[in-house]
Amino acid sequence: MEPLLCPWEPATFFFISSNVPLLINYSHFVAIFSAMTISLLVFFRDPRNLLSQFFLLFSSLFSVWALLNIHLWATNDPASVMFAWSLQVLIEPLTYAIAFYLFYIFLHQQVPRFRYQLFTVVTLLPLIILLPTELNLEAVQLSTCESIEGPLAIYYSYFVNLLFTLMIVAVGVRNLPNLEKQKRLTAIYFLVGLVTFLLSFTSGNIISSFTDDWTVSQYGLFGMPVFASLIAYSMVKFNAFKIQIAGAQILVGVLWILVCSLLFVDEELFTIVVIATLIFTTVAGYLLTTSVRQEFRQRLEIEQLAIKLEKANQRLKILDQLKSEFVSIASHQLRSPLTSVRGYASMLLEGSYGKLNDKTKDAVERIAESSRMMALSVEDYLNVSRIQAGNMKYEYADFNLADTASHIVDDVRRDAIKRGLILSFKSEMKKTGIVHADKGKTMQILHNLINNSIKYTPKGSVTVFAHDSGKQIMIDIIDTGIGMSEETMSSIFGKFERARNANVINVTGTGLGLYVAQKMAEEMGGSIKAFSDGEGKGSTFRLTLPLYL
C-alpha cells in the first residue's frame, strides 16, 4: 500500500520545498550561521579549552535542531515528520542542559560537580527512554504534516528547558558578585545573551505548542543572533575568548547577511527584515564605533608611552656611559697614587732609604701587600667597566699556551711555597699547544685561576695540567682546597660572587676575578669551567682555548 503523504511536493535536498516560508529560511539560516561561525572561531582558536568545546557542542546541537526544523517544513512524508520531530524533542532540552554546563564552565573553568551531572542525567532520562513512545508524539496530521504532541513533548520537555534556564540564572546570581570587575561584566553579557536566547526559544515553542501555530516559534530563533552578537561584543570589549578581531568580523558578517537577504525576501516580509536589519545595524554600529574609539585611544596611549620609553632609554644610555666613564676615571686616579705607594714601599724594603728595623720592615711589608691587593681590585673594576662598555681591547698573536702556563707556575711557585703548598706543572700535550689569542689577557686569566687555587687551598697541592683534545687545549688547575657545592658552582662566574665557604679561610677578594676571566676567555673563543666533588673535596678550574692548527 502506498504511504499517505502530505499535500505538497516532496522536499528536494532535504530542505528545499515550496511549503517552506521565506521567514523560516531567514530566521533559521541566520541563527545557524551566527552560532556556528562564532563557536568554530572560538574552538579553532583553542581546541583544548573546555569552554570552546562546550560552546561548539551547544551551537552544533542548536544548529541540528534548526536544520531538522527546516526539514519539518519542507518534507511531505509523515514518517520523516515523526522522526525529525522526536529528535527535536530530545535535542531541545539537551541544548538547555549543555547551555547550563557552558555557563558553569565559563564561571568555574571546570565541568559541574558530580551531583549536578547526576541531576542532569536523571532529568533527561524520561525524555530519552520514552522518546519512541506515544507519550512523546501521539500522531501526525496529514493536512499540515504536524505531529500531535504527547505529555512528554508538550509538558515535560518545556519543564526541563525552564528548569535549566532557572539553574543558569541561579548559578549566575550566586557567583556574579564574587567575580572581579571585568570578568563580572563579561559574565553579565554572556548570561543576558544566553538567557535571552533560551527564553525566546522556549517561549516561541511553548506558544506554538498550545496554539498550534508553528510560525510563532520561528521568531524565537532570532534570540540566537542576539546571543551571538553579545558574545561577539564581549569578545571585542573584554577579549573574553581572546579573539578580538574575529568579534568585529562577525558583527560585520551578520550585518552583511542581513542586508544581502533583503534582495530575496518578498514584500510581505520586507518590513520585518528591514526592522530586524535596522535594529541590528544600530546596535552593531554603536558597538563597533565604541570599540574602535577605545582601540584608537589605547593606540594613542601606547604611542605616547613608546615616545617616553625611547627618551628614558636614551637617558639610561647616557647615564650608563657616564657611569662607565666615572668608574674608569676613578680607577685610573686610584691606580696612579697606588703605583707610587707600591714603588716607595718596595724601595724602602730594598734599603734604598737606609736599613729598616724589624718593626718598621714588618709595617712596610703590610703596606706593600695591601697596596698590591688594592691595585688588583682596581684592575678588576677597570676590567669590568671595560667589558660592560665593550671597550676591552684584544691584541691577538700566536703563542704556546702550555709553555706560558709552565712559566706562570714558575713565577708563582714562591707564593705557594710560602703557604706550605706543593705547586707542580704537568703536560700531556699531543700537539704543540699554539693558540691565537691575547697573550697578556691569557696570562692574566691563568694568574687569576692559579692564585685563586693557592688562596683557597689551606694545605696540600695545586697542579697545573696541560692537555689537548686535538682541536682544543685545556689547562686544568687542580687543587686539594676547600671545594664547592653544586649551588656555588652554578653561580661562581657571576659578578661579585664568591664561594659560600670562602670566608672560612679568611680570604679577601672582590668576587670579580672569575667573572672577568670568563668574559675574556669567551671573547677569545674559549671558556672556563669549574668542577668539584663538593665542599672540602678540592676543585678543578679548566681554561679551554681553540688550538691554532
Partner: protein
C-alpha cells in the same frame, strides 16, 4: 579513607561512566525511534485531508 588522588580518580571514573551511559542510552533511543517511525512506520496518521479541503 581514600587519598585525594584516589578520590579524584574515582570521581573522574564515575563521571565518565555516567557520560557514556547517557551517550549509549541516547543512541539506543534514537535507533528505536528511527526503526519505529521510518522503518516500521508504526504511528497514527490522522487523515484530515478531505475535511480540510471541504473547509
Amino acid at each position: 579513607m581514600p587519598t585525594l588522588i584516589e578520590f579524584t580518580k574515582i570521581y573522574q571514573k564515575r563521571s565518565s561512566i555516567l557520560f557514556w551511559c547517557l551517550v549509549g542510552l541516547i543512541i539506543l533511543s534514537v535507533s528505536a525511534t528511527y526503526y519505529k517511525t521510518l522503518v516500521l512506520r508504526d504511528f497514527v496518521v490522522i487523515d484530515d485531508l478531505e475535511e480540510t479541503l471541504e473547509e
